[in-house]
């Protein structure tokens, strides 16, 4: 199986098993809900449940076959879960930070969480120095604010902890530069 190794360190059977797992994680909850779909008794053709059933069960069947096939190959050479940790740590951290950012926007509105997120991200991606980690995020936040909230006139949701009238500010700039 050496030729099936790729640069990302996952063997082909590991990828196949991972694919099957990912698809099953989505399709199994779907399969439990098919029976809840309303069926029109007068529908003579391919009913409301038939198309979802076809997709979901075909997918589950294919995934089970793929997982079985991959498991047989994996038994020959066991995977090393510890190899995956360095690969997954970055994306998982970003995923959690994204969740915190979304929550932060709901609490403090757009400006502060976005500035904080940009500072974190510039440092996360290896930038150093105040110009890149403070000045660039500040500049970027202002650009975003100008394009989306002033130019496009998007309404900013109010924060539950910190709330300020950003829309009124954006509207006054819009009228100043001649936008409706």
């Amino acid at each position: 199986m050496g030729s099936e190794e790729n640069t990302r360190g996952l063997s082909q059977p590991a990828k196949e098993f991972g694919t099957a797992l990912l698809v099953l994680l989505v399709l199994i909850p779907f399969s439990t809900r098919i029976s809840e779909i309303y069926v029109d008794p007068s529908d003579p053709g391919f009913g409301s449940r038939d198309f979802p059933r076809l997709i979901v069960w075909f997918g589950i069947g294919l995934s089970v076959i793929l997982a079985g096939k991959a498991l047989m190959k994996l038994q020959i050479r066991a995977p090393k879960p510890r190899q995956l940790l360095p690969v997954l740590s970055g994306p998982v951290l970003l995923f959690l930070v994204a969740g915190a950012y979304i929550y932060g926007v709901q609490l403090f509105q757009y400006l502060l969480p976005t500035f904080a997120l940009l500072i974190f991200l510039t440092m996360f991606f290896g930038n150093t120095g105040w110009k890149r980690t403070i000045l660039t995020p500040l500049f970027a936040v202002c650009i975003y604010y100008f394009v989306f909230f002033i130019l496009f006139g998007i309404f900013e949701e109010r924060g539950t902890i910190l709330s300020y009238d950003s829309y009124g500010f954006a509207r006054s700039i819009r009228s100043f530069i001649g936008l409706n």
Binding site: R33, V56, Y101, T122
Partner: protein, 494 residues
């Protein structure tokens, strides 16, 4: 004359032509930034299109996709780093030319070949798609079921290393397209108690998640931020090394024409990307060459072959979208997303329901080719120098935050940010597992159409399924799908 009407629509106000030129410049520079795929770039721009009229929105997206195909060759030639995957073939001959001080010649060859291939492809689209659409408009639900079947088999089966993984990418896309309401009874399904899902999973968060956020997650996983660490090599003293001579042009012309044909033919097949076209054209040109020993050491003919094939796919791969409603590539899938957002009907009726818009988009395509030819011929070196100065580790934080601001801008719903984050993770996992993101997205977009066609078909035929036997076109597409599948299996067993 459709295309003249298209130009008239394009210049009817300042917006469409302006955004066509802006899109060309964005695509040229964005395509030249390694690590930022054209799909990601287009997905990032989709929220902006909400605020434009339909023609300006489509012109922007279409021109970005076209010019980024050429833009990707600039860092491939100058820095040995392809800006897009399809520029890898150009890199083989382009970078050795740069090392010899002939980067000017290499870049000019790339832009000439790109524009020539692109022009042929665009003309094929303009005059071929409308003709085919007349026949496609006669097709009914059974034929469309067969067409969808055929497309999914080709998209799922032909891409990637594993047929089953390809099919599972399609299945995943189809399954997630089921979320929302039943298209006939309008009752909710698979919403798992989340009322925000009643209208289904919104397209823009999915596109931004799988094409953009997933790319940032991948970079975070690989910790590969510093991409271009090489200065541009010095120029040769020979002035003829900075442009393509007439003799050289005449020598490579047959290769360019042949490669254009290869690119256009491959481009029309759903799911087979331009990267395949480039390498097929490059290999074919090398095979036919009288001096194959010079290839890999800076052969200008190799650049001509790869670039003309690369850009010849860009117009041709819209033919399945405009005639059958099947987006055959990532760019076409994204373009179809913008069409859906703006209420432009996808499929053969587009030539009657959105005549001005579609010919306006074709005109934008021609304007784009002229623009990137002019800018590329005289300004590629400057674009390269500009891109070389962009620190890659500043690009990803900006892209990440832009995703969130942009997705919020589309519907002003925080829920879309959540959906995009989830799809970013799903997209990252799919990339790691070698699943096909284009197949997933195309299936997600086409899922409702397939379901509607299937249910309409079975309403037409209460006996269930036998109607397909009475429809020769449907049988033809089923046979084509089955043939493609068995050919793929045969190829695997070899």
């Amino acid at each position: 004359m459709g295309i003249l009407d298209g130009f008239s629509a394009l210049f009817s106000s300042w917006q469409p032509a302006f955004f066509a030129i802006l899109g060309t410049l964005i695509g040229l520079v964005g395509g030249a930034i390694p690590g930022l795929s054209s799909g990601a770039m287009i997905a990032l721009l989709i929220p902006v299109t909400y605020y434009l009229d339909p023609l300006a929105a489509l012109a922007l997206i279409y021109t970005v996709s076209k010019s980024s195909d050429f833009g990707g060759s600039i860092p491939a030639i100058l820095f040995n780093t392809p800006g897009t995957p399809q520029a890898s073939a150009t890199q083989i001959e382009g970078f050795p030319m740069t090392q010899q001080g002939k980067q000017g010649k290499a870049l000019k060859m790339a832009v000439i070949a790109s524009a020539q291939g692109d022009l042929f492809s665009e003309l094929l689209l303009i005059f071929g798609a409308a003709t085919l659409a007349v026949y496609a408009a006669e097709l009914g639900p059974p034929e469309f079921v067969a067409i969808y079947f055929c497309a999914f088999v080709i998209i799922g089966g032909l891409l990637g290393k594993s047929v089953i993984i390809g099919f599972l990418s399609v299945i995943l896309g189809l399954a997630l397209s089921l979320v929302g309401t039943d298209p006939i009874t309008a009752d909710d399904r698979f919403i798992f108690g989340v009322n925000e899902l009643l209208d289904g999973i919104a397209l823009v968060p999915v596109l931004l998640g799988v094409f953009v956020l997933a790319e940032v997650f991948s970079k975070a996983a690989d910790k590969a931020y510093d991409i271009m660490d090489q200065p541009i090599a010095g120029k040769s003293d020979d002035p003829t090394d900075s442009y393509v001579t007439f003799a050289e042009y005449c020598r490579v012309l047959p290769t360019m024409l042949r490669s254009t044909g290869i690119g256009a033919a491959i481009g029309m097949l759903p799911g087979v990307g331009s990267a395949v076209a480039c390498f097929v054209a490059y290999s074919e040109a090398k095979r036919k060459s009288k001096t194959p020993e010079t290839w890999g050491k800076g052969e200008i003919e190799g650049i001509a072959a790869a670039e003309s094939a690369n850009n010849a796919t860009s117009g041709a791969n819209l033919i399945p979208l405009l005639t059958l409603g099947i987006p055959g590539s990532t760019a076409a899938a994204l373009l179809s997303g913008v069409m859906l957002i703006h209420g432009v009907e996808i499929g053969p009726n587009i030539f009657t329901t959105s005549y001005d818009i579609i010919y306006g988009v074709f005109a934008a395509g021609l304007l784009c080719i002229a623009t990137y030819f002019v800018v590329g011929y005289w300004g590629s070196g400057y674009v390269g120098a500009l891109v070389g100065r962009i620190p890659a580790n500043m690009v990803y934080p900006i892209i990440f935050v832009t995703c969130y601001v942009a997705v919020y801008a589309t519907r002003q719903a925080t829920f879309d940010m959540v959906i995009m984050t989830i799809f970013g993770l799903i997209g990252f996992l799919m990339k790691r597992l070698d699943m096909s993101l284009p197949a997933f997205v195309i299936a997600f977009i086409l899922g409702p159409g397939l379901e509607r066609s299937m249910r309409q078909t079975f309403l037409l035929d209460e006996a269930g399924g036998w109607i397909f036997l009475e429809r020769p076109v449907a049988l033809g597409f089923f046979a084509l799908g089955a043939f493609a599948f068995f050919m793929r299996l045969l190829q695997r067993s070899e």
